[in-house]
Each structure stands twice: as structure tokens, then as C-alpha cells.
């Protein structure tokens, strides 16, 4: 007795409507499996049933992205599914984009697990692999016989909410999530083995491929500093004594904004560092060493700068993920922009 209701998404070709000449066909649905769906039914666990198939032309989908997505979602929702399978799309670019977009939207809106399959160079794979599970397939429909069991297996796991293994174990495209595992060998032994391979010119797998780093283009220089409003922002953890916002000593989950009105000098009775990544003794003695309020007030007095913005922002850079740091930077930047600040001095540790 089938209990898991599966809907299958296909394009016009695999939906058996026609080739390129039918690529502008609008979304419609059929009861039960169609085309590769019949093979999929065989491969799926006995308690899973393809209750319906939604078919849409690739050209129509990609040229009417929003409208097509809405229509497809409505058709899928009509089957009251527990799981969506799309494709596999192999190396068909527009089909891959459609499968990725449909899966992502269904996952988000209908809150059910989704899975699709693609060749890893399909543009849809790059676009959607971080959001959804994409089973790695060959580059053409000739690989259908290999792709179907892999897709069915992952669908079963997802439908049951089972713990997902690694991309290598499960056959999906890596999603950019770093997860801890226990290897057979300790790290040092893995390092020695990797060294020997590298020395012998044999292939080896790095455990962490280097990321591509952002580079920020500097803004043009401020023309007249003497009229400029300058703000201080620090990742060095300088906070009012007692750390009122409880900013973490490492892996900060927040930033704080603090008033500098009437403050000309930071001292050990009023400010301290919350940062756990450097010797705090000297910053605690005189927090101006990390957040130079005293010097800024002096420059203000001398007319070198127009004035110091009365709010400063602080977080802890120590162990804080780049994604979080970016988020705080955008939020702080927005606020400073609204305050018509002309320039920011960023200090670290």
C-alpha cells in the first residue's frame, strides 16, 4: 500500500509531447507516471507512488520564469505530494535550470523534500546545488539507466528524513556545507599519505579546496576631510565595560552600537575588550589602542576632520564566520549611510 505521494516534473521532450518545436508548451499535468517516470516507479521503494506528472516546455519556463513557476507549483500542489522528483536533466541547460528552479520553489513554498539529477556541468547544477540535492548524472539521456536508481535511492532517503551521507557516498553534487566526519586515519597520517602522493605526482584529494576571496575596491578619496563626518567601526571587540550586549569572545553572533557623545578618551573604568583572540591586557588598560577615540577627538579639535560620528560599532572578529561578518558589515554600512557618514575607519586587533 503506497503511502508516500511523489510528483514528477518533466520537460516537453521527456514528457513525450515533442522536441524543440514543442518547447513553448505551457505547464499541464497528468495522472500517474510518464516517460522516465515508469522506470522511476520500478526503482522507487514499494511504499512510494508517482501520483502525477507535471510537464512544461523548456523555452516557456525559462522565458516566463515567474508565471511558469507559479503555474507549476499550483499543479504540483494539486496532487498533495510528499516529495518532488524533477528530471533528470543530464546536460540540457534550460531543462536543468527549470528543474533547479522548480525544486527550489517547491522546497521553499510547499515545504516538502525535493530531488533532481543533472550532469555537473549543467548550468542549473552550479546555480542550484547549494539549495537542493542534485544527483550527479552522466551528460546525456543515454545514462538514464544509471541515473534512475540513484535518483530513486536519494528520493527514498529524503522522503523518510534519513541522515544524508557524504556526496561521495550518496552520489549527489556537493552543496558547499562543511560537516564534521570521523575518518579512518588521524589527520597526521592523512597528511603523510597526501604528501607521498603529491611528491610522486599521483592524484590526491585535498580536504579543503581553497575558496575564492572577495576583494573590495577602495572608494575614491574624501576630497575635503575637514568637512567630513568620520565613524569608527572595530572588529577588535571594544565594548562598554561589562559587555552589555554579551558579544561572544569568539564566533560573534551580533554587533553592538555604542554612544561616544561627550567621551574624549576611553579608559580602563569605562571600556574593555570582549575579543578572545589576542592578549587583552593592553586593550583593557587603554581601549583607545584598538578604538582610537582620543586621537579622533584631537583631530576633530584641530579641524583635520569635520567631526567624529557619535556612534561607534563593534563586533568580535575572532572565529566569526565570513558569512556573518558580511552580514554585520552590510547592516552597519546601511546605518552609517543613513547617518550621512563620509568615511569609516575600520580597526581590527
Amino acid at each position: 500500500m503506497a503511502s508516500i505521494r511523489v510528483v514528477h516534473y518533466l520537460n516537453q521532450f521527456f514528457g513525450q509531447i515533442g522536441g524543440e518545436e514543442k518547447a513553448d508548451i505551457v505547464p499541464f499535468s497528468k495522472e500517474g507516471p510518464v516517460g522516465p517516470g515508469t522506470a522511476l516507479v520500478q526503482a522507487l521503494d514499494g511504499d512510494m507512488e508517482i501520483v502525477g506528472t507535471v510537464i512544461c516546455g523548456d523555452t516557456y519556463f525559462n522565458e516566463n520564469l515567474e508565471a511558469a513557476t507559479e503555474k507549476v507549483i499550483a499543479l504540483i500542489a494539486g496532487f498533495r505530494p510528499d516529495l518532488l522528483i524533477a528530471g533528470p536533466a543530464f546536460n540540457a541547460g534550460r531543462y536543468g535550470m527549470a528543474c533547479g528552479a522548480v525544486c527550489t520553489a517547491v522546497q521553499e513554498r510547499l515545504k516538502i523534500p525535493v530531488v533532481t539529477g543533472m550532469y555537473e556541468e549543467n548550468p542549473g547544477a552550479d546555480m542550484y546545488k547549494k539549495q537542493i540535492y542534485i544527483v550527479k548524472t552522466g551528460n546525456s539521456a543515454a545514462q538514464m539507466r544509471k541515473a534512475i536508481p540513484a535518483l530513486a535511492r536519494l528520493a527514498g532517503k529524503l522522503a523518510r528524513g534519513e541522515v544524508m551521507g557524504s556526496p561521495a557516498e550518496e552520489g549527489y553534487l556537493a552543496r558547499g556545507i562543511r560537516r564534521n566526519v570521523f575518518h579512518e586515519q588521524r589527520g597526521s597520517a592523512r597528511a603523510v599519505a597526501m604528501l607521498l602522493k603529491k611528491l610522486q605526482g599521483e592524484p590526491f584529494d585535498t580536504e579543503y579546496p581553497m575558496p575564492v576571496f572577495d576583494r573590495v575596491t577602495p572608494r575614491p578619496a574624501i576630497k575635503d576631510l575637514s568637512k567630513a563626518k568620520i565613524a569608527l567601526v572595530t572588529s577588535g571587540g571594544i565594548v562598554p565595560k561589562g559587555n552589555p550586549d554579551r558579544i561572544e569572545s569568539s564566533s560573534a553572533s551580533k554587533f553592538g552600537r555604542y554612544d561616544l557623545s561627550g567621551i574624549n578618551d576611553l579608559d580602563e573604568n569605562t571600556f574593555e575588550t570582549a575579543h578572545g583572540g589576542y592578549d587583552p591586557v593592553y586593550a583593557n588598560q587603554d581601549a583607545d589602542r584598538v578604538l582610537p577615540v582620543d586621537v579622533m577627538r584631537q583631530l576633530e579639535k584641530e579641524g583635520v576632520i569635520g567631526r567624529l560620528h557619535n556612534i561607534y560599532y563593534a563586533t568580535v572578529g575572532n572565529g566569526t564566520s565570513v558569512a556573518n561578518a558580511k552580514k554585520y558589515a552590510h547592516a552597519i554600512g546601511e546605518e552609517l549611510k543613513q547617518e550621512k557618514v563620509d568615511g569609516i575607519i575600520l580597526t581590527s586587533t
Binding site: V181, S188, V192, L196, M210
Partner: protein, 427 residues
Amino acid sequence: MQLELGNILVKDVQWGSRSEIRKGVVYVNRQELLDTLKDDRLARIDIDIVRPGDAVRICPVKDVLEPRVKVEGKGQVFPGFFGNAEMVGSGKTNVLKGMTVLTVGKIVGFQEGIIDMSGSGAEYTPFSRTINLVLLCDQADGLPQHEHEEAVRMAGLKATRYISQLAANVTPDESVTFATKPLAQQMAEFSGLPKVAYVYMLQTQGLMHDTYLYGLDVKKILPTFLYPTEVMDGAVISGNCVSACDKNTTYHHMNNPVIADLLARHGQDLNFIGVVATNENVTLLDKERSSNFTAKLVESLGVEGVIISEEGFGNPDADLIMNCRKIEALGIKTILITDEYAGRDGASQSLADGNPLANAVVSGGNANAVIELPPMPKVIGYIDAVEIIAGGFDGALKKDGSITVEIQAITGATNELGFNRMGALEF
């Protein structure tokens, strides 16, 4: 230089009226040990024994050490602290295997760690699998932080030395010999095997971030050459807790797994020429100077490849990448061991610096991963610290005594010497 390590397999550690070792059991006269540790800077010292499986949490942990004593050969273990910086690493050394001396006490900075002897946290720290003699040391009122750190560090060294001396006349259960030769001779050995070295980066960023080599603050060294066996006699000791997860405790240094695993294949698959110890200072000039010297020294050793281990994260990522880049530029292959700060969801980039030449990396795991630790009936130390140590946060400690923290708060969890089996992979 040749060193024979004689392992005495410790079956248990117990209190006794006399400090001695009988049939693999280490008996400790508590009062005598306390007297040895007397220091005006420490207002309170307490000692406890914990064993694998105990329902005990220790926090905030500062350092972990292994008792070793010289039986033959020059010098003393922990040279520079004891025995006048005589060169160590040759002769015979007895090791009390299976036990540690562990220091805990009021928090100095933010970087101290948690060790759980049982429960979900236990599998992340190697020290849940050893019998630990735990020294709880609290500082005298008003003691400045730098002296606080030093006083507790010295208590750990002194207690470890006291225990180790009990092993001087005990016949080891097993022994193993390690040997490397002076440079010119070692280079001529094992024709046809690739010559390799180990670049040993040591954390040197200031209070709670220092390391000592023959008693010298490593901030002040230029990169230097060591025989692998010197480290086994305690030539390198820890004065730091970067974050607990990727701090190399003194125990890690004495049992450096990179050195052990290179020696295991020495003469079989490779020719291990020696160790280049370097630092991780805070200024750019220091970083440039140290990485330039490291690359020069590696080049002068005539090796074809190196393993580079990092200690800490963030700022030292810059030192790691400089070392990698400059050594690769000489045509020498590099393998890096690091850990990751990829965010709690694992979706962020893991390092603060990178380079396409760093194409062979071993990961000790994502330190930001979150873990729930169950309540423990017994706590040695100060549990409130979990809210402010690196990896903890406001609200980390629940009313029932359970704790939610990032694994960076667990001592040794993501060790960058490759001590553990854990690592991170892309999912």
C-alpha cells in the same frame, strides 16, 4: 640523535601514603604534591583524579601534560624550565602512558576549554580517554593576568615533573627507538626516498597565546632547526589556549603525531630530515620575516616536500599561507594541516586567507559546529566560564547544567597537528 621511549602503561592513579609506582598503578601522596606546588601567587590548589567514563566535566582547562623523565642521556624533560636548557632528545626517556596532569582554574582570558570524561562531548577530546590528575589552581587576589597564566603553567610543569620522577626506576612495559642523524649524514641515507621536513608553526600572539622552546618565548625566535626527538622530551611547551579546540597542549607537543607518523615511514617511504620550528607573531613585518626564514631554512635542508601544521586560526591563517606560498615558490611541495571556521551551518568559507598553491589541505574539522553537552553531576572548576570562553555564548549554560557550545570550546577537538580522526568534508 637517537631516543628510546620506554612506555610504562598506567593502569590507575590513586592516592597513597607514599608517592610511588607499583604494578602499573601510580600512587600519589597528595600532601607531598601540594607542598611541591606552593606558590604565593596561587591562593588555592586542589587536586583530583578523574578516569575515562566518569560523569565529570572539567572547565576551564588550561593545559594538559604527560609525565616523562630522562633515564639516560643529557638534560631533563622540559629543558629551559628545568635543567639549564641542556639539549634533549637523545638517550632514554620513560613515559607514564595513559595518564596526564591537567591544569584547571579561574579563567585567565577567554580561551580555556571544556573536557567531559563521558557523554557526547567525550569523543571530541583525547583527554576523556586518559586518567587525569587534575590540578585546580586559583590565583591570589589582584594577581595580574600575565602572572596568573605563568603561575598556573609552572604548577602544571612542577606537578608533571614530580609525578614523572616516580617513573625513573620503573622498567617500561614496551619501548620504541627513534633516530635521525646530523644533516649531512641524514641526507645521504635512504637513497631514492623523497626527503621531507616538518614545518612546526607555534602560536605566539601574546598572553594565553604563547609557546616556549627550551624555556624561550617563541615570539622571540627566528625559525630554527630541531631533531624530531627533541620535542618528545618536552622541548616545546604550551603557554597558550588559542581556542581550546585548536590549542596544542603540552601533551600534544610531546606526542606530536606529525613527527610520529613521519618517523613511522622514515626509511620506508620517505627520509625525514628534521623539524623547522617557527612562530605566529602578530605584526606583518614579523610574519614576513619568519616565513622568509622558514622558506630559506627548508630550502637549505634540501628537501622535496614539507608538512606544515598551523596552531590557532584567523590571524595565523596568514602565516600558514605565507609559509605555503614561499615554500611552494621554491619548488618544494607542501601539505597543510589546519582547522575550519565555516560558521555554525558550515556554509561559510573556512579560512581567513588562501592561495591557489595551497592545494593539499588536511582539515581538523569545523570548530563552529554546535554540540549539546549533557548535565554532569560533578564539575571540577568553574562552569560559569562556558558563557564567556571562545565557543561559548550568553545562554550557553542551561539551568539543568547542560551546555550548548561550539566544539571550539572543547580541548583538543579540532587539533591542527592531526591528532584526531575528525575532519570536515564538503556535503
